[in-house]
């Protein structure tokens, strides 16, 4: 399973957009399991393609998370304030544990 997280916003805007790509098969088993659990808890493949705020603020970073598990592929654009706790936790974990491409 492959996860691609893109983050855009802040001072730099698109110029500073950063993408993190991770293949769960390449991670230690416990780390992969934690990410997979968060993905499952967020019911990611059932989420609508957009979870964005009606009136975003300058500090609302835009996230695009694409997940490909071989059988299905899904992409969701979201602001953290609109994300479920598990999707938020997944985002934080990717930001903290995966280096940008």
């Amino acid at each position: 399973m492959r996860l691609i997280l893109k983050c855009t916003g802040g001072f730099a805007g698109p110029a500073g957009a950063q993408t993190r790509t991770v293949d769960l098969t390449q991670l230690p088993a416990d780390q992969a399991s934690q990410l997979q659990q968060l993905l499952h808890a967020s019911d990611f493949f059932a989420l609508p393609p957009k979870l964005v705020k009606q009136a975003p603020k300058s500090w609302d970073f835009q996230y695009d998370l694409e997940v490909d598990d071989g059988g299905q592929n899904h992409c969701v654009r979201y602001h953290l304030d609109e994300a479920s706790p598990s999707l938020k936790a997944l985002t934080e974990k990717l930001n903290d544990e995966v280096d940008p491409d």
């Binding site: 916003g9 802040g10 001072f11 730099a12 805007g13 698109p14 110029a15 500073g16 957009a17 950063q18 009136a55 975003p56 603020k57 300058s58 500090w59 609302d60 970073f61 934080e92 930001n95 903290d96 280096d99 940008p100």
Partner: protein, 341 residues
Amino acid sequence: MAAHPHGCTCFIIPPKMLRKLAEQTTDQQERHCLLDTAEASAHLRGQRSVAPIRLGITAATGEKRRTVYDAQNKSTLPGKLVRGEDSKPSADKAVNQAYDGAGATYDFYREILQRNSIDNKGLRIDSTVHYQSKFNNAFWNGQQMVYGDGDGKLFLGFTGAVDVIAHELTHGVTQYAVPGGLVYEDQSGALNESISDVFGSIVKQWTLKQSVEQADWLIGAGIMAPSVGKALRSMADPGNQQLTWSGDDQPKNMAGYVENGDVHTNSGIPNHAFYAAAIALKGNSWDKAGPIWYKSLSLLTANATFADMAKATAQAAALLYGADSAEQHAVQAAWKVVGVA
């Protein structure tokens, strides 16, 4: 240091109260100790988000109060306290740059626009450096400043440019000065970005004591790797990649307006309007053009368009210099330059 009646490791005291005590004490070392304890306490209580932590430390004082934290390359804010107001410079250059840049921005708003910090009520300016790993950005998160280190390939860091710091802190000013803030999408979002570029540039010019003719009008000069470019944006000539970098896609007038474009793209249009007004008004950007743009903020609404900004700045010029004044005409002409009637 006199022993504090509550000690410094007493986690039974809520973080909010610890921070209030820290605000009240005149002993700097004690204040740091209390803030450290509050931070540790908050962490133990699982308070990861910024919002609860900020509640107790936003009292108005009318004094410049800066605090710098180190996220130690993680996402948790605010991080470890590393410098407070009037404490000795850190061995960490980024810490001192964030501290000094916040100070220059505070001083500009105080001395030139008579504004008491971000919220005009003396809000303490908190900054966190070393956010995440190789983070290519800086941002105001609604309560504090956050700086990444850059990836070393595209960006070299963000604390070294005072216009970047003033840009982001001005997002905070906009948040408070425009009734309801400016929605961060479409034209209101591009205006939000532009207002931050405008005051980012003015603070830089004010710091360097440069006239409008002497200023380079670049945003983010020096933060990019030289092989990538010289700056992120140019207010004098938006979209001129020779002055900036190869990815600069900013239009300089409405003929180049990008429908559904990014707010950092279309902000080139109001940026250039400000530049044109400042050049026409001559002298220093903070003498007339800056105060006119600043006064216009309270005349805007959350979904303001470029035309609304043109109207608001013309109205602000009339309020400051009189209807039909040379200043008002200069502002109106500047918006015509960029194709906004």
